[in-house]
Symmetry: D3
Subunit: 133 residues, 6 copies
């Protein structure tokens, strides 16, 4: 259960409907997942988030698959089950192999381990890491 | 300040000294950063963490630079300043460009935003994301 | 499933029973939600938490509804599904409109985004923010 | 120290310069804080974040001060020192009294406490909290 | 549902099968819980994690039950429902009483409360806490 | 720097002064650390937190040192540097040896690693962990 009802296509305000059409066109599928149906109660936020997704997840200096791996990593550390599921599915749709998935999880697990060790030890930052600022 | 003194080379137990030598050999530099000097109070843990770092961060199904990007992402979500600094430096040493760094941060910021929206909305997982289990 | 059985009214120790009666009296409803039924195994903690809830969530310098919005925000960032549900329900009971809920989520999403950007950038605190200490 | 150099006004790309001018105009002050100077390395992201800040933090169904309180709450739970400092300063600039600040912290502390109790107890969500979905 | 299928005994690769046999031998039970069945897709990681569990959770300077209490505490703060359940069960199997469980939760709740207060207040570290480094 | 000035003894309101006297009496030292000096702006909250600390951290079903170890664990996962420092100091004052500190960090690191693996794998809870509820 969600904290708001998920909106069906017939319940969308015009601005939300337009965003859904763009999601379908860009993704090449009629399926619109639950995140957008929950967010559709706030068409202005729906549009801002979708525009940001399009701008940020597009090919650029990083490969779209790499971006999905980073997304899974952040979603895991933020303890978001839905986000882990949806972006693991997205990563697979963009070609993530099982071997890549397994390696991703190794790195996430190692990072979590050393993050906690560093925090418990309160290690001071080395001067050599300095980039200015 | 750390919760334990950072150990200088002359203060290392033999097992810790052996790990430091391996760190220097594998990395091709005499510099050993503060994390290892804090961890060196527990030579067995020092060895386990270093062995895991070598096994997990080596080239494999994912590129070593991609692994550093994932490491930065996890370290950011876990709010670990030292880890962010050290792995940003590592990523640069492995070739991360400023454009890649900027794109990484865009993805991290977007993921954090949608993670929180999803959690506040408590969006139920779509059936189509199911992989079994 | 919980890590302890939820206690029914007939299973309460006397001190827990007294707290339940106060919860019912203060809230004006016979319904006692699952959080208190799980916490009731430890009547002393049950009482401390309930007394703190009464003291902290009462009207004061901040409006009770504003306090519920803050509660949702913290619960979201701490990734607590039960807490998000229960305090979203409480906020609605205290008059939160759908428009206010939507705005709350926008702010939570934005804050999460900039929190992560700031951590990844390790931005130093401006002198002008200083209040002493 | 930051993971990127903070940019001075003379180092800004034209698009970043335009955003800085808008920040100054909207806020009515010449001072631009460090977050924007770090983000200015990525003018497109700088613009997106600033546009989102303007859209989300403007008066609406929630009072601008309430939004700052929510921002402090999220920043605290996400353990972002810079964000806590900058938004505490913003809240004060928008009229937050010391009594309001104190009450805010009480609510944040209580929420954190019950968030952790609920997670350790794994309390199941009450049916009465359901809103559909 | 998991992001990978849980592997049954008949689906294990030889290296994973060997780890499962060791898990059964060390624990003195035929039951292997879902975590290991999900991790079994990556036999090398399965082995590393299991070897770490054996090394770290064995009796030493801290009692095995104390280690389980610490594990529950970390799992709670990291918002991991499965981990809370599995380590609460492990703690009970190692003799945790209901009174100990209740006290553990009190401490976790108090720590969460003061953690958030400290972060919102940005309290500077006292010189007297210094241990060198 | 803190978000509020730290209060010196001469700046305390009468209710805060009484709490400080109790802190000194209970701890047997004249030193009052910065957390209480920041919290002293809100004497009612100061008193509630101090009363909770006394009630929760006293000897009971768990040893006071074990409680400090749990406190360090939660503070680490919540990324609170001040809390890590102050409770590591408290644990040492209560007799924590360096070997115990090292073992504590091993457990924290392992828990963080498996917490993240479980979240990324979204492992379903085993029926055998069920306790009712």
């Amino acid at each position: 259960m969600a904290t708001v009802p998920l909106l069906g296509d017939a319940e969308l305000a015009p601005e939300a409907r337009a965003v859904f059409e763009d999601i379908r066109a860009v993704r090449g599928t009629d399926y619109v997942n639950n995140f957008w149906r929950a967010l559709a109660h706030d068409p202005a936020e729906l549009r801002r988030v979708w525009e940001e997704v399009k701008a940020v997840m597009a090919p650029g200096a990083l490969d779209p698959l790499v971006k999905e791996l980073v997304y899974i990593a952040v979603s895991t550390a933020n303890a978001c089950p839905y986000c882990v599921h949806s972006h693991t599915a997205s990563a697979r749709a963009k070609g993530m192999t099982e071997a890549q998935h397994a390696e991703l999880l190794r790195v996430i697990g190692l990072a979590a381990r050393t993050n906690h060790l560093v925090t418990a030890l309160q290690v001071p930052v080395d001067e050599v890491f300095d980039r200015g600022g």
